[in-house]
């Protein structure tokens, strides 16, 4: 039976304690031999002498969750994952804070690592999420995703 669509959105930054709790929750799943984790952190770029102090994320949430479900199903099938979790921040995230947490688990390391990497690439390309880079002086520009 297909599971209901999982929510991936978290308001505000993803805290290190949230991440450790999620890792600890996998202890009973003893079929897992490897986890792979990707953490996206807001980078303080300097653009035309102005420093990015935060990124404000918004999304077309209903569509993003449907698209993420398609990616999740594909990754579980392709890499025979035991489980997979994705969390993405919404709202204003300051530089240095975590805004993306991708966590894949499989019986062996290669599947976990490859699935994690492919999920990050696919979600950046396929989920309707937008980041607005906010500068120290209050001005902003719309973020553009670059290749890896």
């Amino acid at each position: 039976m297909k599971q209901k669509i999982q929510n991936i959105f978290v308001t505000g930054a993803i805290s290190p304690s949230f991440i450790t709790e999620k890792i600890a929750a996998h202890q009973p799943k003893t079929g897992i031999g490897g986890h792979s984790i990707f953490l996206g952190q807001v980078r303080s770029d300097i653009i035309e002498n102005k420093k990015v102090i935060a990124v404000e994320y918004t999304s077309y949430e209903a569509m993003a969750l449907e698209q993420m479900d398609v990616i999740r199903e594909a990754m579980i099938e392709k890499y025979s994952l035991i489980c997979m979790h994705v969390y993405h921040s919404l709202g204003k995230i300051r530089s240095g804070e975590i805004c993306l947490f991708v966590f894949t688990s499989a019986p062996h390391r290669k599947a976990a690592i490859d699935a994690c990497s492919e999920t990050v690439e696919r979600l950046k390309a396929e989920l309707p999420i937008w980041g607005k880079e906010i500068f120290g002086d209050g001005s902003f520009q719309w973020k553009k995703n670059l290749p890896a």
């Binding site: 996206g40 994320y57 918004t58 999304s59 077309y60 209903a62 569509m63 993003a64 449907e66 698209q67 993405h88 805004c99 993306l100 990050v120 979600l123 950046k124 390309a125 396929e126 989920l127 309707p128 999420i129 937008w130 980041g131 607005k132 719309w142 973020k143 553009k144 995703n145």
Partner: protein, 76 residues
């Protein structure tokens, strides 16, 4: 009949509203209407989603459908 169209990201900022109501019959008609009302949006690349699926070819629109204009994604 006016169709509700959701705007996101930079498009929402440029239009100054999160939703438009336009009298359009298909996605080509929608693009024309946007070009006429918001020439600055027309200069950007954007995608049209009908019922949460991107459509690349001209597609008829019915009032009960969920329409959205999406600028290039920049999540992650």
């Amino acid at each position: 009949m006016a169709i509700k169209i959701q705007l996101y990201g930079q498009l929402k900022q440029m239009a100054g509203v999160s939703e438009l109501a336009l009298d359009v019959k298909d996605t080509d008609g929608l693009k024309k209407e946007i070009a006429m009302r918001f020439p600055e949006i027309e200069k950007l690349t954007y995608l049209i989603a009908v019922d949460r699926t991107i459509v690349q070819v001209n597609t008829p629109i019915r009032a009960i459908q969920e329409l959205a204009l999406l600028p290039p994604y920049s999540g992650g």
